[in-house]
């Protein structure tokens, strides 16, 4: 059974039950034409107002990741992202001349189906609004854990009106192009039905999840954007460790580690530090102080039992192991584990970071695979950063960002300019005809 929480611009907090996607598809089809008539500038203005409403809503701001979301949705940023993705935002409104009597327009794909992972609730909003900017209809299937957060956020998108070139436009049209739903992820029939409705499938999640959806039947014209499992880590070079900003970098590392209970694909699991005048134990002790300071602001740990068991066992392993070190809080506020094996460790999450010392930051190149998404870096040496970024991205890394920014959603993501994939690039070529 499908539980539908928002359809046709109407919200229902208990969810309306549907057995199949027919009604949902009908509603999206109706909304689709009207959205297509919106100049993209109108959508940007509505999203900008949405961002303002989020910024004013204290309750919603408490949801993890929402303050950054509000910043991300500002007009200036959205315009920047669209330009980066499409080159010229006018492609979304009309045929734009690109050559002698040759024109290009970015037409919507149609219905975009989003399967969202449960670890980052705001991801659903990023995913669906990028698709809306491309004027697509959307079926947004969120996890059980994220329903409330996404519902509360979408509600703020209601009742927005903007004026553009003398006309008034309502956000209702945008909402009419979004169906917010939940159904059991193991329901093969519903997954299959949803998949068959899609002109584009966006899947965020674990290998099990993305594999399952990828195998579902789909239209031959359907485009897949798969954001499967990824791993991220941080690195501090000597110049950063010996700089005056060192402690600030550490605080940023803690912020990256705490966000989303460290379950994001962009959450750091390991920290590599380049040999410097500070030894690894001194480093860890200062990091403890930073964890103590920052975790006071984030008291609600809310760890799952499974994560707790993993942390306790890893702590035990590092405390009892003779060649390993552990710096831990009395509760499970943070766990710092040190050893000298140059490898990536299984993500324990729940504020658990492994620290390993390397002679040179380039030593980590041997660990890079295409599964590595983000490296959060702290360095004062821009040439070194460029050299490092070039090497690691050649080997498979998608993003190298300054420490503290690892979990900030950005474009490109996972090596993909998402909005450029959510349109059909259509051409009109009439050279010499008229």
């Amino acid at each position: 059974m499908i539980n539908c929480y928002q359809l046709n611009g109407e919200f229902n907090e208990n969810g309306i039950k549907f057995e199949n996607f027919n009604e949902i598809e009908n509603c999206l089809d109706k909304g689709f034409t009207k959205l297509h008539e919106f100049p993209v500038q109108v959508i940007i203005l509505i999203i900008n107002e949405f961002s303002k409403k989020i910024a004013k809503n204290r309750e919603v701001l408490m949801i993890e990741g929402v303050p950054f979301l509000s910043f991300y949705l500002k007009k200036m940023n959205i315009e920047k992202q669209l330009k980066l993705n499409l080159g010229n935002i006018e492609f979304l409104n009309s045929f734009v001349q690109v050559d002698d009597e040759k024109y290009i327009k970015a037409q919507p794909k149609g219905i975009v189906c989003h399967w969202m992972a449960g670890n980052v609730p705001t991801l659903g909003i990023y995913s669906v609004l990028q698709s809306i900017l491309c004027k697509n209809g959307n079926i947004l299937r969120v996890s059980k854990e994220s329903v409330i957060a996404v519902y509360e956020l979408l509600k703020l998108l209601d009742n927005i009106e903007v004026k553009y070139e003398g006309n008034i436009y309502s956000s209702k049209i945008i909402l009419k192009n979004i169906a917010l739903i939940y159904f059991n992820s193991e329901d093969e029939n519903l997954n299959s039905q949803m998949s068959l409705k899609a002109d584009a499938r966006i899947v965020w999640g674990s290998k099990i999840a993305v594999d399952a959806i990828s195998l579902m039947p789909k239209k031959t014209t359907c485009k897949d954007l798969i954001f499967g499992p990824k791993y991220s880590f941080s690195i501090f070079d000597k110049s950063a460790i010996e700089s005056n900003d060192f402690e600030e970098y550490l605080e940023n590392l803690v912020t990256d580690t705490i966000a989303f209970n460290q379950k994001g694909c962009s959450s750091p699991q390991v920290l590599f530090i380049e040999k410097s005048k500070l030894n690894i134990e001194e480093f860890a002790q200062i990091l403890c102080v930073k964890f103590e300071k920052i975790t006071k602001r984030y008291t609600n740990l809310d760890l799952e039992e499974a994560t707790v068991a993993k942390i306790i066992n890893k702590r035990g392993e590092y405390l009892l192991g003779r060649s390993k070190l552990a710096y831990i809080s009395s509760g499970l506020q943070y766990t710092i584990l040190i050893d000298n094996e140059l490898k990536l460790e299984e993500a324990i999450t729940g504020r658990t970071i492994f620290i390993k010392e390397v002679e040179d930051i380039l030593d980590v190149c041997s660990l890079i695979t295409k599964n590595i998404q983000t490296i959060g870096i702290a360095s004062k040496n821009s040439n070194k950063i460029l050299e490092f970024a070039d090497k690691v991205t050649t080997l498979g890394v998608d993003r190298v960002v300054k420490i503290g920014y690892m979990n900030f959603y950005d474009s490109p993501w996972d090596g993909c300019l998402i909005m450029s994939e959510l349109v059909r690039w259509c051409s009109l070529n009439i050279k010499g005809m008229i």
Partner: protein, 370 residues
């Protein structure tokens, strides 16, 4: 120095009769010197040093450093000399495939048996009686190493005047021998008897088989003790109530005679048996601390957390404080209507190992190749 006399007193004397405050003082007096001795193991010494443990400043049992139960799978946590080991207890290695190894010297093995007898006496009395064991005799074979099942059978057999194994082994599969069972029933149906089996084996190889075959027994004066293996039963959606009802029906006895006890191979000798009010009580020589799963501090009454089991029985391995992967509910202290003193609790479940999986879940899928 360990206070051996005090240990003997706590292990051998009547159980469940010391008030909590006094008990904590007595246990601390024994445990602190034991912790000093634990330092003889290089791994434990490393752990105490890393945690900055000053044993002399420990003032409560809650402050005693605990060892996560899985560490018995990763490290050789032996305190005594190798040549002093008389037996190695091994867990069933269900989840990881690696068994826990618990090294017992003579002293520990004796204390564990004594502790078990003292505890069970409080529930079974001291009379020996015929015992039906729902297992195969191989589980309790003599040797250097013994499984959790074997250890439990051996311990409870202390209360047996005679033992009868009712399961045959066919190509490593346990199969109920109905003839042997009928023979036992015929001989002892009017006597007080004991029945013991591992919960999972009792259910899947015994009760379920008898139920399917429509066989009912008539041995009403029994005490059926069972332990271990709930994880598999919960996955088959068999709840404790259903288990007890089925067992009572098959044996033609009352549900009150079906007794579940909680224990683990890493703390052999320490068992927690349900009293008539459904509470699990802690013997005088042991303790439990239910720790909050976020703060790791002891929870308040009515709250749930990880069960830490403490014991003074270990002379050859660090039994003083072991943090389990079981969830319990802390009910109260000293005031159970059954009259037993000390802490009492309820076993709730094994830790739920299922996690919310998201896009950061690479290693769990072992997908790290290029």
């Amino acid at each position: 120095m360990e206070d051996l006399e005090l240990i003997d007193e706590l292990v051998l004397a009547q159980q469940f009769n010391i008030e909590q405050k006094k008990k904590e003082k007595l246990l601390l007096k024994i445990i602190l010197p034991q912790l000093e001795r634990n330092r003889g193991n290089v791994n434990i010494d490393a752990m105490y040093n890393k945690l900055g443990i000053d044993i002399s400043s420990i003032q409560t049992l809650e402050q005693v450093p605990y060892i996560p139960v899985n560490m018995f799978k990763c490290f050789e946590l032996r305190i005594c000399k190798k040549e002093q080991v008389v037996r190695v207890l091994q867990s069933s290695a269900t989840t990881t495939g690696i068994p826990s190894k618990i090294y017992l010297d003579k002293k520990t093995a004796i204390r564990q048996s004594q502790g078990l007898v003292s505890t069970l006496s409080s529930f079974l009395g001291s009379k020996r009686r015929p015992m039906l064991i729902v297992d195969n005799a191989d589980s309790n074979k003599k040797g250097d190493s013994i499984t959790a099942r074997g250890a439990a059978i051996r311990g409870i057999s202390t209360f047996a005047s005679k033992t009868f194994y009712v399961m045959d082994k066919e190509k490593e599969e346990l199969k109920l021998n109905i003839d042997k069972l009928r023979e036992f029933e015929k001989k002892y149906k009017d006597e007080e008897i004991l029945v013991y089996g591992f919960t999972y084996i009792l259910w899947s190889k015994f009760l379920k088989v008898l139920k399917q075959e429509g066989i009912k027994l008539d041995i009403p004066n029994l005490k059926l003790l069972h332990s271990g293996g709930w994880k598999k039963l919960i996955s088959q959606k068999v709840e404790k109530k259903v288990f007890s009802e089925t067992a009572a029906q098959i044996f033609n006895t009352s549900e009150a005679n079906v007794i579940d006890f909680y224990g683990m191979v890493e703390q052999a000798g320490v068992v927690f048996i349900d009293c008539q009010y459904g509470h699990k009580h802690v013997p005088n020589f042991a303790e439990i601390i239910i720790r909050d799963i976020q703060t790791l501090k002891e929870v308040k009454f009515g709250s749930e957390g990880l069960i830490e089991v403490m014991s003074i029985l270990g002379n050859s391995y660090p039994s003083q404080a072991i943090l389990t992967e079981d969830i319990g509910e802390y009910i109260g202290i000293d005031d159970c209507p059954c009259g037993r003193r000390g802490k009492y609790f309820r076993f709730k479940s094994r830790v739920n190992k299922a996690e919310i999986r998201g896009c950061g879940d690479t290693f769990a899928e072992r997908e790290v190749g290029r």
